[in-house]
């Protein structure tokens, strides 16, 4: 469990603008059997377009909360005013270095994006697809052969996402369980587990970089240690910052998305039937599921004082742009509460807006689509196993646990 620091409301925040919603503590955000934390977060649309939430980060800090998609675009498209340099990973260790490119601002940000973009471009992802599909088929066939129920996260979602990530890094599968544990403790652990997991991951990345410097092979880390920015090699801190970000970003998010998607389909047999009958609809359906069940909140730091739609944001204030809030904005999506797998015109923000648009978005989309395609092809109509309840939670990265499906 988290222990929150007490955070007094800053003097410049008018009391009338303080709201009681928090992605960490509001109803539906704590671990909840059969919960729906994304729907629970949509309660903010009954209130103002911006308010101040006194405890709205993992370490108990207050943030402004932007509720309208249009306003989130304005914040996320303006990195000069709303910086993403927070060192969230390093600060857990009392250090200060950025995860790259996420925690860099322009112009440095663009240099690293240009280096990394081609590795995860839509065209490159097409070349990765057969490996992704092979992995999904292997895991799902094993599940189907083993019986008529499974633990989705442990048996499919995590091993699937982590395997693809390891493949991308050029690492063998034999440390898969270890990686899943590190990622879990880092993202969802307590105040002792988190820094310990962070140190373990750093040591792993540093060691891998040193090894690839000595003996480069054809993989991501070898590419990184041989790359140049502004005609100079990357520094050790830059390599570490990039490696850590890939580690953190690629594991939990895709697995959580697959979990929420299968949880939804288990409870909506007609949608299952539609997608099973017409698999070509899965690409569009996956977009609606990304809109309905995104998992991340973006936080920016104001670089100067600015009045934003009546809110006196001051330099240093945190500004939260939660994807699940923008994606349920009634001004952006007609009937946002309705999950319609045939919805078109679906410009959701599951992967954020602006220059920090998720670098792995194209791979993540492919993993989700391929995962659903192969699941529906190989597993007969499924439901939540009787007598069990999946547990959902909000917070820093939304997630779902104890998701047991049954098709007996």
């Amino acid at each position: 469990m988290e222990t929150f620091a007490t955070s007094p409301i800053p003097a410049h925040v008018p009391l009338a603008m303080v709201g009681d919603f928090s992605l960490f503590s509001s109803p539906g955000m704590q671990p909840t059997p059969n919960g729906d934390p994304q729907a629970a977060a949509a309660v903010v649309h009954e209130g103002p377009r911006i308010f101040y939430s006194p405890v709205n980060t993992r370490d108990g800090r207050g943030t402004w909360v932007i509720t309208r998609a249009q306003d989130q675009r304005r914040v996320l498209q303006d990195p000069e005013t709303f910086s993403s340099h927070r060192s969230i990973f390093a600060s857990a260790l009392g250090e200060s270095w950025p995860m790259i490119p996420l925690e860099l601002d322009p112009p440095d940000h663009g240099k690293f994006r240009s280096l990394l973009n081609p590795l995860l471009s839509p065209k490159r992802v097409m070349a990765l697809e057969s490996a992704v599909r092979e992995r999904a088929v292997f895991l799902i066939d094993r599940i189907a052969a083993a019986g008529t129920s499974c633990h989705v996260m442990e048996d499919f979602a995590f091993p699937f996402a982590v395997n693809i990530f390891l493949r991308f890094l050029g690492l063998p599968d034999d440390r898969l369980d270890e990686f899943v544990t590190w990622a879990n403790e880092l993202l969802h652990g307590d105040n002792v587990q988190r820094p310990a997991a962070a140190r373990t991951i750093i040591a792993f990345i540093d060691e891998l970089a040193a090894e690839r410097r000595k003996r480069p092979v054809d993989d991501f880390m070898s590419f990184l240690v041989q790359s140049k920015i502004d005609d100079r090699p990357l520094t050790d801190t830059e390599i570490r910052g990039t490696g850590v970000l890939l580690f953190v970003a690629g594991l939990d998010t895709v697995a959580a998305a697959i979990g929420f998607d299968l949880n939804y389909l288990a409870r909506h047999p007609q949608d299952q039937e539609m997608l099973r009958g017409e698999p070509s609809r899965i690409v569009l359906a996956a977009e609606e599921l990304l809109r309905a069940y995104p998992t991340v909140q973006m936080i920016r730091v104001a670089t100067k004082d600015i009045d934003f739609e009546g809110a006196p944001i001051r330099k240093g204030d945190y500004v939260s742009c939660a994807t699940m809030i923008a994606n349920r904005d009634p001004l952006e999506f007609p009937h946002p509460e309705k999950i319609d797998l045939t919805r078109e015109d679906n410009r959701h923000t599951a992967f954020a807006y602006g220059p920090h648009r998720c670098l792995g978005s194209h791979l993540a989309r492919r993993e989700i689509v391929v995962g659903l395609e192969e699941w529906l092809k190989r597993i007969p109509p499924f439901r939540i196993k009787e007598g069990t309840s999946p547990v959902t939670f909000g917070g820093h990265v939304f997630g779902i646990e104890n998701l047991i499906l049954d098709w007996s």
Partner: protein, 63 residues
């Protein structure tokens, strides 16, 4: 019909390309290539959908 491309707003979501890869051409990084796009009449509906799919509003439709 013409699509006006605001390259400064493109962030590489590639939703336009997913909708109509033969109309919206991407560079090696996955961002839209510079230059406005003249759309053939037969492609107008698809181009319209592609332009409307941009989360950043980087594609403007000019009739």
């Amino acid at each position: 019909m013409k699509i006006i491309v605001h390259n400064d707003k493109c962030q590489g979501h590639a939703r336009c390309w997913a909708m109509a890869p033969h109309i919206f051409d991407l560079d090696d990084e996955g961002y839209i290539k510079p230059g406005d796009i003249e759309v053939a009449e037969a492609d107008e509906k698809l181009a319209w959908k592609g332009a409307k799919s941009c989360p950043e509003r980087a594609l403007e439709i000019e009739k």
